[in-house]
């Protein structure tokens, strides 16, 4: 029994070593077939940490901690679950990510945003719900898209399930952000979703 487990474990590590190396690539032009080896090999115990680790952002920021310490001042508005690819010396925008091509705003699984109440973005009413969030980056603007194709891998998001689209301007920073980062920041009339990677930073204002 132990020996069997050991052999299986070694197999997992092997499969995952291959898997992780290819899994985290943020390039949207990769074919899905290449990006997901191990998909048919059961079981898959992920003994390695992903190259583009998952993370979670809330508004209010750190809502779970606020809740724990009894410091919640307003109810939870939004939650974002996304993977964080690394720059690793590469030029990201216009290179790793092609302008005009769809990008999953992260890596691995499609990034997911959940609104716990109705909100407004660019005068459009967004219903309380969970959505896939992705992006089409251009040099001077990003098109941010909310979509209903949940629980999917980010390289193939069904665009017929797009529900909302927003164009937002791009600003450049002198210093590069190593890990792709998304966070909510408080504003007078609501919050904004700040997205930053490499020397690019964008903001999506959300009111409620």
């Amino acid at each position: 029994m132990i020996r069997k487990s050991l052999i299986t474990l070694v197999l997992f590590i092997g499969i995952l070593y291959l898997g992780c190396n290819q899994k985290a690539e943020p390039n949207p032009s990769r074919s899905p077939a290449n990006s997901a080896p191990g998909a048919n090999k059961e079981p898959t115990i992920t003994v390695n940490i992903d190259k583009s680790p998952l993370d979670i952002s809330y508004y209010p920021a750190d809502y779970p901690q606020l809740k724990m310490s009894g410091n919640v001042k307003e109810p939870v508005v939004a939650r974002l679950v996304y993977s964080r690819p690394k720059k690793d010396g590469r030029v990201i925008f216009g290179n790793v990510l092609k302008y005009g091509s769809r990008w999953r705003l992260g890596a691995n699984e499609a990034s997911e945003i959940e609104f716990f109440r109705d909100v407004t973005i660019q005068k459009k009413l967004i219903r309380k719900n969970r959505y896939v969030i992705y992006c089409i980056p251009y040099e001077n603007k990003w098109t941010i898209i909310l979509n209903n194709d949940l629980f999917t891998w980010g390289l193939k998001i069904d665009s017929t399930l797009d529900v909302y689209k927003f164009d937002i301007p791009v600003s450049k920073s002198q210093y590069a952000m190593e890990y792709f980062t998304m966070e909510f920041e408080r504003q007078d009339t609501g919050v904004r979703l700040v997205m930053a990677w490499d020397t690019v930073k964008t903001m999506l204002p959300i009111t409620y």
């Binding site: 487990s5 079981p43 115990i45 003994v47 993370d55 779970p64 999917t152 980010g154 920073s173 952000m177």
Partner: protein
Amino acid sequence: MTVLFFCVLSLGFDAIAQTKLAPVDKSPLDMCYYPNNYPVLKIQNKATEPCAVRIIYSRPQKNGRQVYGELVEYGKVWRLGANEATELELYKDAKIGTNKVKKGRYTIYAIPYPDKWTLILNKETDIWGAFQYDEKKDILRTSIPVEKQQEPVEIFSMAFEKIDGGANLVIMWDDVKASVPFTF
């Protein structure tokens, strides 16, 4: 001088603006689905059954420490991970052991003992750890088996393994492997 002053100033602001955003966590988040790798199967049109469950959990590392009985104390509620309480979302009604559980989003905890664990499902979601864990919000408590592993697992790991009629949620860290039977 003025130019230098502004350079320093803008450098300072930029550095602040950069560091304000979250670094990658020491115990990074991860997720697992049943069916395993469901999002990948979905885009390859290879999903043979609907998405049943997803777990989002943080992955602490052993880092040379004795985990069970020390870092994770026996007899105490543990968040099955790190940081935020681990989340289990059922996309359909299921059974955990012999207990029926309605579809929905839950937090999941364990009370480890040397020979078995108590698994807990609780309805308080979006919470940090087990610090404010409230027993009154439990959905179920059930005993699950553990076995010793010869090779310690460095990074806390969870995954579903297909079994007849369902799946086992396998939880591995250090030299312990726990299994939670799910029926869908």
